[in-house]
Subunit: 400 residues, 2 copies
């Protein structure tokens, strides 16, 4: 045969660093060994074994979402695909949507709603601030909205919409189904789908759950799913059609070949959350993130967001104007083998506090690396002060 | 806090069989240890390391597709998502589509084209037969089609469209862009994207490539991508928008968080294909599949599809009326730890010959398990005759 020579390839071992980097950015996050092990397995996508796994994933999904709705499903795709699934199934051409916009990811929900023909109104939150329930109510009064979209935490600028419960209550009061993006927050802070009247809740694997990116989780309320089953307008989407996905997730039958290894990984990630319990997990995240924030401030750096709007799951840190975020991140990864995130145009770095990231050894290593890199880049930081405060905060009782 | 007790969960170890099943169905297929290892790793989805991996995946993707087009991309989703990506980007409302239908998967392409507003004509192949170039030309003459969709092999009924090269030539002659589904065939038999004038080519991870399900591969010709870049009509799809996906796959920038572990797995799977070379891989698949088919027939069983339309990548075997496919499959998995597929309503079983499935030890184990299960289910089979023929065929020279 006339086939050309295959391309020369650098072995993966030579591309990957000899010492794996500690993943302390805005996701993906480190995964526990049991999750990694599960992700290396391949089993049949249909049949009794897979069905047993699926049933448990749904049951554990209900626990992390705090819902009794049966309509919990995995999604073969990134968290953005789960976002798109919520939107594409609930927004029909002409559906009036109110999208609360805090930044990149909340705007992504609005864009997805535009694409499926929604009549979308964007409500911008003030810069670096959570949206207030008052502002949401004012907007809700201006149009008969049918869908409200909101993020619990905005990963891009590290804002936490603390009024979420009241916002969802208002959404229902004004006739909306509430779509809530809990991509970076789920299992790091309370989220009670039923109690809070959330109709579609979304998360990714690679954030709080500490599973892999590429297999996500979604739940619809009974009311939302009834709306989906009753819809008459055709859907452009096939893979993300919730009625088709139901075939696999609830009827033990075929939709497409499910990402079996990723679902096994998700199973293990959810099981570990149950072992720790949600309250235990929330405590750990609050304590670790607060300790990190305190340590950063004690080191002499400023946090991007004021405390009353500040997210714990991802921490945004301002850099002095003379210091380049890219340079700091480069030194941290090259010298200290710690990887953190930049931002989308903002002069900040972001440190994740999701799942396995929120462990004391990771915090010491990260804060030390951040301070050292700042110093190497010409910044002034009080490193002993920072490390002392981190230790002090970790040892103190969590408030709230 | 008032959170209820987490659900009781059966550990994964107690759900998975103690002895892993040999996956000999229509996919997923067994993955090599290097692929499993890569799939257990998490790295950052952006940055130099990931960029180096992505560049190699594209280069190796061009080799397996046999194309010089730069527009090779991974897809975070099942092969169906790659199918949907090809359709959703190339079919606009009113686009005239000719969909050649051999069974479930080729019809899926047509359904996806319906959903995005295509004006779709279905051309049904005769039952259990490949479509002929003559029939395709007749259909092409009846309407000014802009898109032609066709599967190289139809996984559901194991038909091989052997006239594919001529069909694609006709498609171009009559003004179409050719979308070819090579989901179950890629790397098991020749596919020369550029030479054959294919404009969009699709495959899944979990078939010939022997990677995981959930991360797929697609390539567009330069002509197809130019069409996509020039399109004016809005797209309902966000994750599968090829222009957005280009950001990550070609501009080293952000679209959504890529499925990093699955991409590392795909990298290793493609690297192993390069090591073996495509001609070597085609020979192995042809030899193994033919040997299996001969062994099955020598055992006294009938293959579903006549030789001139028969696919090698998935082998469909008729069962005597009195024997239940479910029972045979159950015995094979419980007693022999070999899993094969049923079919979608057809009284057949299907054995995969894709990637790692096409290895002599797997063939002996599978044929022995099939024969033993048939016998246990009350069927009459010549097991020594079957095993002898399998050995004989494996040892003989491959023709063609």
């Amino acid at each position: 045969m006339k086939y050309p020579t295959p391309p020369t390839v650098i072995p993966l071992d030579n591309i990957l660093p000899d010492e794996p980097l500690l993943m302390m950015g805005a996701g993906p996050v480190p995964i526990p060994p049991k999750v990694a092990m599960a992700n290396s397995l391949i089993i049949n996508h249909l049949g009794d074994t897979m069905n047993a796994v699926i049933e448990q994933v749904k049951t554990m999904g209900r626990y992390v979402f705090q819902t009794n709705s049966p309509h919990v499903m995995g999604v073969a795709g990134p968290a953005s695909a789960a976002m798109e699934m919520a939107i594409a199934n609930l927004v029909e051409p002409g559906t009036r949507v109110l999208s609360i916009c805090n930044g990149l990811f909340s705007r992504r929900l609005a864009e997805m709603a535009d694409r499926v023909g929604g009549d979308v109104t964007r409500l911008d939150a003030p810069d670096k601030r959570a949206i207030s329930a008052e502002d949401v109510e004012k907007a809700l009064k201006t149009g008969r909205f049918q869908i409200l979209t909101v993020v619990q935490g905005e990963t891009s600028n590290t804002v936490w919409n603390r009024d979420l419960v009241e916002i969802c209550r208002l959404g229902k009061q004004y006739g909306c189904l509430n779509i809530v993006d809990a991509v970076c927050t789920l299992s790091t802070m309370p989220m009670e789908m039923d109690e809070w009247m959330v109709d579609a809740i979304i998360t990714g694997g690679q954030k709080g759950l500490s599973s892999i990116p590429g297999v996500s989780l979604i739940a619809f309320s009974e009311e939302a799913f009834a709306r989906i089953e009753a819809r008459n307008s055709p859907m452009a989407h096939w893979c993300l059609d919730a009625r088709l996905a139901h075939q696999f997730w609830h009827n033990h039958s075929y939709h497409y070949t499910a990402p079996v290894s990723g679902i096994l990984a998700l199973h293990e990630a959810l099981r570990l959350i149950g072992d720790e319990t949600l309250p235990g997990r929330f405590r750990r995240h609050a304590q670790c993130s607060k300790a990190l924030q305190n340590g950063v401030e004690a080191m002499g750096l400023k946090l991007l967001i004021a405390e009353d709007s500040r997210l714990n799951s991802v921490v945004g840190i301002e850099l002095p104007e003379v210091i380049s975020a890219d340079q700091v991140r480069h030194i941290m990864s090259q010298v200290h083998k710690v990887e953190i995130s930049g931002a989308f145009g903002l002069p900040i770095v972001r440190i994740g506090q999701m799942g396995e990231q929120s462990r004391a050894p990771n915090l010491f290593r990260t804060l030390h690396a951040l301070g050292s890199a700042m110093r190497a880049a010409g910044g002034k930081v009080d490193m002993p002060g920072g490390m002392a405060e981190l230790e002090r905060s970790l040892a103190s009782e969590v408030r709230g």
